[in-house]
């Protein structure tokens, strides 16, 4: 069983520039490195705000959440003495199944989740 993840990038402008990664497929141990390296690439070219569009993500395993935490760290959300809510990384439109995992793992307390892309972009 080989999982695949396709990543398309778009640029949006709200109060600040926001890079959107549109993800399609499964984020698991096989594909998390693709997500991390793509995020690293856009952060390397100056992206400060990242929105992950999960609307076409059919599965997200713990390895995917590890990638998300690592990306938040790269965006300057290094968590020091206090647990903080990431202000530079947000999630868009996870499926019911993915939302359930987000909630179980407790990531909903640390990441803002939006259903509407315009609202999400404006929030940065």
């Amino acid at each position: 069983m080989t999982s695949t993840l396709r990543i398309a990038v778009s640029q949006e402008h709200g109060n600040a520039p926001v890079t959107v990664l549109h993800l399609k497929g499964e984020i698991d141990a096989n594909t998390q490195a693709d997500l991390e390296s793509k995020a690293e690439e856009v952060v390397g070219t100056g992206t400060q705000n990242l929105l992950l569009d999960l609307s076409e993500v059919t599965y997200m395993g713990s390895a995917g959440f590890r990638a998300i935490h690592a990306i938040a760290g790269k965006l300057g959300d290094e968590q020091s003495a206090t647990a903080i809510r990431s202000s530079h990384l947000k999630l868009l439109n996870p499926s019911a199944e993915v939302s359930k995992v987000i909630k179980t793992l407790g990531f909903d307390s640390y990441l803002d989740i939006y259903e509407d892309i315009n609202q999400a972009v404006k929030s940065f």
Binding site: S62, A67, H69, A81, L105
Partner: protein, 421 residues
């Protein structure tokens, strides 16, 4: 490209090449006559895997890399031959070749080679010589690879043995209680873990199941860390030789603290300390674990627990699920100062608590469909066996039957506790 005139230097070179080292001079002259000299720049691709090719090459000077995308198979240098498989047998190129440095090649076209082969038995000998050498080198490479793989496997075996000892040898045996557990790693080493131990100072049974994100060697290293921290912190009173109950780590010698408070405090201290230790010390690795940690009072059957981002354990009675133990906090190890609240539950006689990892519910069949939590719960309620060992082996058999033929994707862990009286 101009054909190189048949000079003494060229003859000398062909004579030294691995293919023609035994060929007579007259053959070398003829080969020289059909060779075209080709210069390639460093990093230039000479052939691409899958392409149809009709030429073979002898390296006059320089170095090339034989590769399959990013994977380097071999480096070849002066006097080496490549591309002969596609040239001699009308096959597509079996690998890509890229010049490592500026390189000069002799190119031999299939039609000219066949022409010489049809006329000169010595040429056929040279080709046979080349193919025999090739086979010898393949056997050598495969043998070497096998030795390397075996050495790595031995290392992993050692890792697996050591890791297995991070799981308890024996589970606590207490009158009125039966406890069983199993862990089936997806790879040689696992990121899942379980534990069950008696904390004498507060007379509670610690029940632990965890799942480190990812799998394989990375997850297994963190498995040992999480398991050790939780065990060490919750057993600190026992390790220090304290004989009385106390309020967790800070007030452990204060015997005025009632047991019910002591177990909550022990639980909170243990998970909080583990979380902050890993988040502060190893936060930059983004490694976390979902953890279910409970302290069971063997006298009353009451249970206090922290579910840190873990699959909801289930308590079931004769025919139905009586309680689900939902998360009371986030995963452990990446959110500093995260808050974990304490949940409570109770096991009545004949009740069974089953704790599992997502390796059970996400086990996939050959078509990619998952086992799912619904199927697990249905199976639990339907299964008449209540003996934890039997129950666990029946669940495992059911999951294995479901995913028969598919590769196990994640570690599978189950812990079952039954109150018999």
């Amino acid at each position: 490209m101009e054909p190189l005139p048949t000079s003494d230097e060229q003859l000398q070179f062909l004579k030294q090449s691995k293919m023609f080292e035994n060929a007579p001079k007259s053959l070398l002259v003829e080969i020289g006559g059909i060779s075209t000299t080709v210069s390639v720049k460093a990093d230039e691709k000479i052939m691409e895997k899958g392409d149809k090719g009709t030429a073979m090459y002898i390296i006059v000077d320089g170095q090339v890399r034989i590769h399959d995308e990013d994977l380097t198979l071999k480096y070849l240098g002066k006097g080496d031959v490549f591309g002969e498989m596609a040239a001699l047998d009308s096959e597509v190129r079996s690998a890509s070749v890229t010049a490592e440095v500026d390189t000069i090649l002799f190119e031999l076209e299939r039609s000219s080679v066949y022409d010489i082969l049809s006329r000169r038995p010595e040429a056929a000998k040279a080709v046979i010589h080349l193919l025999c050498q090739r086979e010898k080198s393949i056997v050598h490479d495969v043998t070497e690879q096998s030795f390397k793989v075996r050495a790595l496997e031995r290392e992993l075996e050692i890792g697996r043995d050591i890791q297995a000892r991070f799981l308890p040898d024996i589970l606590p045996e207490l009158p009125g209680w039966e406890i069983a557990a199993c862990l089936e790693p997806a790879r040689e080493v696992a990121g899942d873990f379980y534990d069950a131990f008696h904390i004498r100072t507060i007379n509670r049974i610690g029940l632990l199941v965890g799942d480190v994100c990812g799998k394989g060697v990375g997850a297994s290293l963190f498995m040992t860390l999480f398991r050790s921290l939780i065990r060490a912190t919750s057993l600190s009173g026992d390790f220090m030789g304290w004989t009385t109950s106390g309020a967790g780590l800070a007030g452990a010698q204060n015997d005025a603290v009632p047991l019910a408070v002591a177990d909550r405090q022990t639980l909170e201290d243990s998970v909080t300390l583990t979380n902050n230790y890993v988040a502060w010390t190893h936060g930059n690795t983004s490694m976390f674990a979902s953890v279910f940690f409970a302290l069971l009072d063997p006298k009353s059957g009451s249970l206090v627990y922290i579910n840190a981002g873990h699959e909801e354990p289930v308590i079931f009675g004769a025919n139905e699920i009586t309680q689900r133990l939902a998360p009371t906090g986030p995963v452990v190890g990446i959110f500093p100062n995260a808050e974990f609240s304490v949940g409570t539950a109770r096991l009545e006689p004949n009740d069974v608590l089953v704790v599992f990892t997502d390796g059970v519910t996400e086990a996939a069949d050959v078509a990619g469909a998952r086992y799912t939590e619904e199927r697990l719960l249905e199976f639990l309620v339907k299964t008449p066996d209540r003996l934890p060992t039997t129950l666990i082996s029946k669940i495992m058999t059911n999951v294995e039957a479901f995913s028969a033929g598919a590769q196990q994707f994640d570690d599978i862990t189950l812990l079952a506790v039954r109150r018999t009286a």
